[in-house]
Amino acid sequence: MKQIAIVAYQQTDSVSDAGAVNEVELIMPVLARTFKQAGLKSAQDVGFTCSGSCDYLQGAAFAFVAGVDALGAVPPIKESHVEMDAAWALYESMLKIRMGHADSALIYGFGKSSPGELPIVLSQQLDPYYLAPLWVDSISLAAMQARIMLDRGLITERDMAEVVSRSRRNAMNNPHAQLSGDISPEDVLAEETYLSPLRKADCCPVSDGASAMIIATVEQAKAWGLPYVIISGIDHCIETHNLGMRDLTDSVSTRIAANRAGMNAGKVDVAELYAPFSHQEIILTRALGLDEGTSVNPSGGVLAGNLMMASGLSRIGEVFNRIVKGEARRGIAHATSGPCLQHNLVTVLEQGENA
C-alpha cells in the first residue's frame, strides 16, 4: 500500500469575529500560503481537493460551493466536500489516493460560527424526533457529561481547571490562538459557573477561521523535495446518537479508532486532542491511555480557539508542525464531531526520512 504523507499545513488566526468576510475571502489567504509552502500554484497542481464545512454555521446555503471560487478550478478539478470537520475530508482524500485516483490532495476546512448562536445551531444536529425539537444546546449536553464525571468522583473541578490553565499557558506559544495567558487553576476556579458545573473557561470559544493541508504519496513528496510527515494510520468510529445509551464518562469510539490506527505500535511524543470542553480532554487522555511521556495539546488545543469544521484538521496540522520542527518523532491527532464526543477520528503521524 502506498504511504501517504503531509507536506504542508497552514491556518488562519482563530478570531471571535472575522467581520465582513465571506467564505471565499476567509479561505483564499490560507490556501495561498499552503500552496506557497508546498511550492505549488493552485488546486490544478494536486490530484484531488476535498473540503469540510457546515452551512448551518454561517446560515448561508451552499456556502461550500462558493468556497470553490477560491481554488482556481478552471479547467475543472476533481473536488469533493464533507459536511463535517475537514479531518474527515483528509480521510476521504486518503481513500482517493489509496484507490490510485490521485497522488496528492488539498484538504481545507473553514467555519464562520460568529453569525449564529453556535450552541443553539449545534442542537439541530441531534436526533430530529426526540432531541432537536427540545433545542438542547451543545454546552448543556457537555455540562451534563461533566456532572456525571464529578458525581462519580472521576474528576474534580480542580482537574478541569488544570486543563484550562495548561491550555491558556501553552497557547501563549501559539500565534493563532484566540485565548491565551498565564492563568492558574485558582484563577479558573475563582470564575463563576456558567452552565453548571462548567465555567466559561471550561468551554472552547466561538471562533472564525480556516485551515488547509496538502498530502501526497511519499514518492510525490520526495519528487517535490519537501519535508514530509507520514500518516501511518487513520481510523474513525461513531457511537449511538442516543445519549442515554452511551457511557459519557468514557470515549470507547476514540479508543477503538486509536487501536485500529495503530497508535500503540510506538511511543506517542505528542497528542493533539479535539476536546471542546476541559473535562473532555481528561476523558480522551484516559481513553487513549496517555501518560506523562506524551505532551498533550501543546498548542493549547481548541480551548484556545475552536475553528468549527477545521479544528480537527488543525489538530493533525499541529502534530505535523511539531514533527517537522523536530520537537517530536511520532504523535497522534484526534478529531471529534457530534455531542459529548460522539464521533471520533484518530490519526497517527510519524517522522519521514527528510522531515
Binding site: G19, A20, V21, N22, E23, V24, E25, M28, L31, A32, S42, A43, Y56, Q58, G59, A60, A66, V68, D69, A70, L71, G72, A73, V74, S114, P115, G116, E117, I120, V121, Q124, P128, Y129, A132, P133
Partner: protein
C-alpha cells in the same frame, strides 16, 4: 405466538411531526459584495478585475473563480448590456409576484466579462434574441437600497446587435467604443 394485540395496531399512522426551526444569524455578504452593494445603492454598477487574467466579474464575490486569486481592483461598468442568453417564462412560479409571460436573461454589462441574471421588459418577448443590446431601467433614486432590484429590468436599445463572439468582451464604452 402471543395472542396479545400488537400495540401499534391501535395507533394511527404518524405521517409527520411539527418541529419548526428558527435560527438567527447576523449575515454578512462579504467584503467584495459589500463594496458592490454600496455602489449599487448609489446607482452605480461595479465589477472587480482579476489581477491575473484581467476578467471583470459582476457581481463580484471577492475572487477570480478561474484563477483562485483575490479581485481587488474596482471597475465602474456601464448600465448598457448585451443579452447572452434568455428564456421566456410562461408558467406562474409559486411565490413570484411577476405575472407570466416574462423574460429572464443573462446580460453582460459593457466593461464586464461575466453575465448576471436579470429581467427584460418593455419589449416584444418574441423579438428578443442573443446579442440584443439592452439598458437598465432603474427605480426612482429615493427607493435605491443595497439591492440588485434597484434595477427594475433591462429594456431593448436601438443599437446594432453584438456578434456572438464579442459578447462579454465589450469595453465600458460599448460596441462602437
Amino acid at each position: 405466538m402471543s395472542q396479545e394485540k400488537n400495540m401499534s395496531d391501535d395507533q394511527d399512522v404518524i405521517t409527520g411531526i411539527k418541529a419548526p426551526v428558527y435560527l438567527k444569524y447576523n449575515f454578512t455578504a462579504g467584503a467584495a459584495p459589500a463594496r458592490f452593494l454600496a455602489q449599487i445603492k448609489k446607482g452605480v454598477l461595479t465589477g472587480q478585475r482579476c489581477p491575473k487574467c484581467s476578467a471583470v466579474y459582476v457581481p463580484p464575490r471577492g475572487s477570480c473563480a478561474s484563477c483562485g486569486v483575490a479581485t481587488e481592483e474596482e471597475v465602474v461598468l456601464s448600465d448598457k448590456a448585451t443579452v447572452q442568453s434568455f428564456t421566456i417564462v410562461s408558467i406562474p412560479i409559486p411565490g413570484n409576484p411577476i405575472q407570466p409571460p416574462y423574460i429572464i436573461a443573462n446580460v453582460v454589462p459593457d466593461g464586464a466579462n461575466i453575465s448576471f441574471i436579470h429581467l427584460l421588459s418593455e419589449c416584444v418577448n418574441e423579438e428578443i434574441h442573443i446579442g440584443q443590446r439592452v439598458q437598465a431601467v432603474w427605480k426612482p433614486e429615493a427607493e435605491w437600497d443595497y439591492a440588485m432590484d434597484n434595477i427594475r429590468y433591462f429594456k431593448p436599445l436601438d443599437e446594432a446587435d453584438v456578434p456572438v463572439d464579442r459578447i462579454g468582451k465589450l469595453p465600458v464604452t460599448g460596441l462602437e467604443g
